[in-house]
């Protein structure tokens, strides 16, 4: 490690920003879980479907029947623990595990936002977010500090900045910038939006939104970092996220991002927020301002921790580039698409008709997907190759259990991408049973036959 980095690690900052972040994060997560539950989504997404799409390597993660409610309950309690800073280390570990388990149960519901929450809560395990203004700090004054290592706050800024910046990089492609797609498809259908509805059919608006969105994502981390542009940056954060909230069904995410962006602000703001909370809840904030500095003892474990978090970020920075290792168009094959902050980049839809063939007698029939999948699952399955493969294997097993033998499973699949006319997506002559899921390139995806230039 270089000297500069070493001295950086020893720098301190007031603990208030991280405490505020912890409180808001916990509350937002609690709100998200309550909303999810109240919408009946636990039932409709995890309990009703008889089949679930799993992540490669995590096939064992399945919904737990009615115990799934318990899982969400545990997750909610953990979120409360995080917000209060009560047995924080336990709370955040339980939150990370339960939340991640929930996300892994069915990849139909995959959202970059959920992945963001997962890795953010993982990072939070290693940060002293309970050192200040927490029940833990109150109960154990010897563990209470109002100064903590600066890198702990910076690591959250880095993660947030990374999400924006990578989302911006992902927009640097010809569909987004030259064709203003998919916004050109999506925005006109939002004509009933109050005030701006009429504008959304105008072509210049599609370009303005596309370019504006890309530039916003690329520059916002820097605007937030520098004190002179911070207020402008935050103003843009609020406008951007509220606009996306009004236009698209993206749930809690805009609010999470708006509130998270507060971490970039000066500690004075955080003290004000905490002062406000103290006044309302009649907490003595002064007792936390003890002047103690959290200086972790230099040890092998500490070095290990620093090394581990560095590694975490290196992986995060590299992971979105893994698509380069695959041939073919990323948007078409989606090999290396997930976990890379590619948000709202494609209008993609598909239609998949599976054919079950008795390879000895050549007798065949089509599958009615509605017998096995929910509409949501069918929608997601019909344009994502890994879904198609997993479903094909599931169908084989299902029909074998019914007594059919020597089965082959073929699919007629058509996919449209960003308004291009639908094209065959999967080689209809390939028996999908002969192929296994892996990180290797899926040779049975038909070529895209068009080009999207850019990153």
């Amino acid at each position: 490690m270089t000297n500069g980095f070493k001295t950086y690690l020893e720098k301190n900052i007031e603990a208030a920003p991280l405490a505020v972040f912890r409180i808001f994060f916990g509350l937002m997560m609690l709100g998200s879980i309550i909303r999810f539950w109240a919408n009946g989504w636990i039932e409709s997404l995890y309990i009703t479907p008889s089949f679930h799409f799993t992540y490669y390597g995590f096939e064992w993660v399945k919904p737990l029947g009615s115990l799934t409610y318990v899982l969400f309950f545990v997750c909610a309690i953990a979120a409360v623990g995080v917000a209060l800073g009560f047995k924080y280390r336990w709370a955040i570990v339980v939150f990370f595990l339960s939340f991640t388990y929930i996300e892994l149960m069915d990849k139909t519901t995959y959202l970059n936002h959920y992945y963001f929450i997962s890795i953010l809560s993982f990072l939070l395990i290693f940060l002293p977010a309970n050192a200040y203004f927490s029940l833990d700090a109150k109960k154990n004054p010897q563990n209470a500090f109002d100064q903590i290592p600066k890198w702990t706050v910076d690591s959250i800024k880095l993660l947030l900045g990374m999400v924006y910046f990578y989302a911006g990089i992902a927009k640097l492609n010809s569909d987004w910038l030259i064709e203003a797609l998919p916004l050109k498809i999506w925005l006109p259908s939002k004509f009933s939006t109050p005030i701006i509805g009429n504008l959304l059919a105008e072509e210049w608006v599609h370009y303005a939104f596309s370019w504006g969105g890309a530039i916003y994502d690329l520059v916002i981390p820097f605007l937030l970092l520098y004190s002179r542009t911070r207020y402008l940056g935050f103003f843009l954060v609020v406008v951007f996220h509220l606009l996306t909230r009004v236009l698209f069904p993206i749930g809690m995410f805009p609010y999470i991002m708006i509130v998270s962006a507060l971490i970039f602000f000066d500690v004075r703001l955080h003290h004000k927020i905490l002062g406000f909370i103290s006044k309302y809840l009649k907490i003595s904030k002064d007792s936390f301002d003890n002047g103690n500095i959290l200086t972790p003892k230099k040890s092998f474990t500490l070095n290990l921790k620093h090394g581990f978090i560095t590694l975490f970020f290196v992986v995060q920075l590299l992971f979105p580039w893994r698509y380069i290792l695959y041939p073919g168009e990323l948007f078409w094959t989606e090999e290396g698409y997930r976990f890379s902050w590619r948000v709202m980049l494609m209008e993609k839809a598909g239609y998949a008709q599976f054919k079950i063939v008795d390879k000895k007698t050549n007798v065949w029939f089509y599958v009615d997907n509605k017998d096995f999948l929910t509409p949501f699952q069918e929608k997601q399955m019909s344009f994502q190759p890994d879904f198609i493969l997993e479903y094909a294997h599931y169908l084989k097993e299902h029909f074998e259990n019914q007594g059919h033998k020597n089965l082959g499973v073929y699919v007629d699949c058509y996919v449209t991408l960003n308004g291009r006319l639908s094209k065959p997506f999967i080689d209809p002559d390939q028996d999908l049973i002969q192929h296994k899921e892996s990180f290797k390139h899926k040779t049975w995806i038909l070529p895209f036959k068009d080009e999207i230039k850019g990153i």
Binding site: L111, N112, H113, N198, P254, Y351, F365
Partner: protein
Amino acid sequence: MKKTGYLLSFVVLAITIWACSSDGSSTDAGSSDDEVPVTFDRGAMLTNWADNIIIPSYQAFQVQLLDLQSAYETFISDQSVSNLEAVRVAWESAYKEWQHVSMFEIGPAESIGYRLNMNTFPADTDLIDAFIAIGTFDLSLPSNRDAKGFPALDYILNGIEVDDTTLIALLTNNANSVNQQDYVAALLADMVSLTDDVVGQWEGTYRDTFVENDGSSATASVDRFVNDYIFYYERFLRAGKIGIPIGVFSGTTEVNTLEVLYKPELSKSMFLEGLNAVQDFFNGKHYSSATTGESLESYLQALNTVKDGADLAELINDQMDAAREIVSALDDFKTEIEAANPPVPMFLAYDEVQKIVPLFKVDMVSAMSINIDFVDADGD
């Protein structure tokens, strides 16, 4: 301090908007009706659908159904072969007219399960025989849907006896005649009352409800109706009239699942009527007129001028023409199915019919930003 004030007001604004905005799925109360979209007026399309297609088609069907009912009454009062023949003719034209309204399963039709009440096939002949023998039955029960409607009439008019004189004898001069006659009268009365209900609601308040819900949420009329329309095409026209009988989903032919099983030369005509209705609707063609209005076709055209993509509307029309051509060239469906296993010509025809599904379900829906089926979850 001042800056913090601004900051807090942003947060408050954010939370207010959050609180006020619905979660994307319920009725779009926030949208105002007087906004005129620049490219394409969904409201004008809904008006055209309701006033020039849906309501006139329903009314025409209602007339045909009443004609059938009165033809039957005439036959009962004068049981001649020619009057029986008149009943059959009326039944056939009402059945064909039905193919033009079956796809409108939204609103009043949806809430009473109109389609399944009118045309669930194959008919359960044992159940029908039993009902006639006992003389008591409740046609309003969902479990009795396969003992009524057009398929039940098909069975009684065309399936019980081979020649007309024996059928007339059965209906009029038999221990069970009264029950026979009552049953047919009850079938007709049931169909008429269901139809009166649906047509009455469209003529009443539902038309405005339908037209005024011109937003673009998952519950807006266009989104919902397009879903219903595609569902009809896929499930009832494609699968119900061809796919299932030729064994596309089971691997073996099931000739007994044909529509109009007892007058099988009509199965093909019914399919073609349905296909015509679907295509006319797509093109916004006014009922029994060559005039067209705003439609899915013109909507696609409007979007295409913006998108500069392939002419999807033309592709869809071409594919429907291709499907019609190949199906028309077939022998009647029963003959085709019984001629060979698998019935290859019909499979080839099915493929052409099938090709429209991805064009509808993938391309059209994607171009219009319509959610296929109601998927209630967050997006990225």
